[in-house]
Amino acid sequence: MSRIDRRFAALKAAGRTGLIPFVTAGDPSPDGVVALLHGLVAAGADLIELGVPFSDPMADGPVIQHASERAIAKGVGLANVLAWVAAFRENDTETPIVLMGYLNPLEMYGYAAFAEDAVDAGVDGVLMVDCPLEESHVLEPLRQAGLQQILLASPTTTEARVGALCEAAAGFLYYVSFAGITGAAQLSTGDIAARVAGIRARSKAPVAVGFGVRDAAGAKAIGEFADAVVIGSALVDRIAGATSADDAVGRARDFLAPIRAALDAR
């Protein structure tokens, strides 16, 4: 059983909804990444999505794109990200970490080399935004090494594709609740609820819902029907202006605390 599977099994046993914060590795500061990861766990994160900065993040909105640009300007690359995960693992062997990003950095690193180094560092899964199920053959070396490929479903996904995704899902299935880019527009909770219910009934893996969740109320509404809630742009936005590593941790804690409480109050 993988670390991700164990975590979701524990959540289910406790009747809790998972909280999955997303941060871009190296933003706001490369020196503060490991402290921030521990801070997220202290604030109630059940699993962490760690963004690998990429110059051309096609599916992300301006908030995450700018976070990526800032991190790249500070020289952050995939090797740094793996080193930070390894450092985090020295004090936390339980919280799963999923790297989220785009394929080109993996192409340049080499899939086989990445698979080996990521497993050594303590990475649990990858969510490659530009690698749909149809192209996931390129990630075979990662799966061979024991990394789980997190797949996405969206409002534009047909029922036939949902079936294939539910069958192939590993770790968890990430339902993108808005058809546009990350961090844009409002949720229509009713539509999402109905769709997610259908997917959960078919999926072998738990279903996390993200894209557009900004606050405790939004998280609570999603938590009614999802196994976990993903918080991305709103958190990245909140910590972007942090003046120090401690400040970033404090901002993340202040932002996540009411969300955690709202999820636990269900």
Binding site: S55, M58, E107, Y109, D130, V138, S154, T157, G180
Partner: protein, 403 residues
Amino acid sequence: MTEITDFHAWPDAHGRFGDFGGIYVAETLMEPLAELTAAYEKLRTDPDFIAELDRDLKYYVGRPSPVYHAERLSKHVGGARIVLKREDLNHTGAHKINNTVGQALVARYMGKSRIIAETGAGQHGVASATVAARMGLKCIVYMGAVDIERQKINVYRMRLLGAEVVPVTSGSKTLKDALNEAMRDWVTNVADTFYIIGTVAGPHPYPQMVRDFNAIVGREARAQTIEQFGRLPDVVTACVGGGSNAIGIFHAFLNDRDVRIVGAEAAGDGIETGRHAASLAAGKPGVLHGNRTYVLSDANGQIVETHSVSAGLDYPGVGPEHAFLKDAGRAEYVGVTDDEALEAFHLLARTEGILAALESSHAIAQAIKLARELPPDGLVLANLSGRGDKDVHTIAAREGIEL
């Protein structure tokens, strides 16, 4: 790679050209792309669609474009005969219209009311605005802020045609960023919006569809060289940015194994300087903008900023079919510097009375090199993909002339 017997049999059912191409996009785009693929698969063999496209190409675009023997240029160079496929004579002055006429028709058959496009040099934007105006469709063109600055005339031209030009200020503020922004618009507004991609890149079915709409260039040129010169050319050359004009003229010749095929990429200040846009000559296989292809990226996999005097070639990726042709050994891709392109521009202007686009000037420069290697009865076919009116300010500025 196994021996390829038919170069016209690609892409495969997954949209792949060997190891390249494919559909490397976010989940949200999978269904819109599947819809487009299904619609295009039906239309490409639909007699009504084909008849309408043929009429548009003949009466609106002005096809066929001539193949012209540049005798004075050839004589000046002192090698083989150089012949030019005159895509600069099309309506709007470049090959880009072949594709936009085709995709606008697809959009209309699919019932879409809004067209979006990305543009680098502005040629594709103008070609998209043109067909949108003609069909009464709303048109939004995404263009990097840097490109808007260096292509003011085309920006104004698009506005005259009724299009809205949206400046893109993210990243390097050039073509690749405009492409990212257009993708975002499409994901958000897919219900009523058709995205006209201007080159043979992007996810499947775009590399195939854009190639198919441009392949008329090579089909005409092949028949014209046989008719006018009684033989096939020894070599075909074209400039390669994203690669739409190049694949357009190459495709009909791919199974003529005796015809050498050479793509001219933008070497900018020289490939050794790092300031260039030669993805095939100097890049590595990677994933960018929805397909697997050769890309220019750094050790961390970040896409790098490219350089070329020609905005239309200033792109860090290249169409996946070119990547496939390179690895299969069917086509060669070489770099032509800014200086070489400029020299060819002037030579063509003075010997033939033709102002070529800076993009196309790379092909002319390469044709000159190739002609020198061949005997006088040799035949070099170059794609003169666009006219140079849009570039006169760039050329004047570069040569220190104030207009």
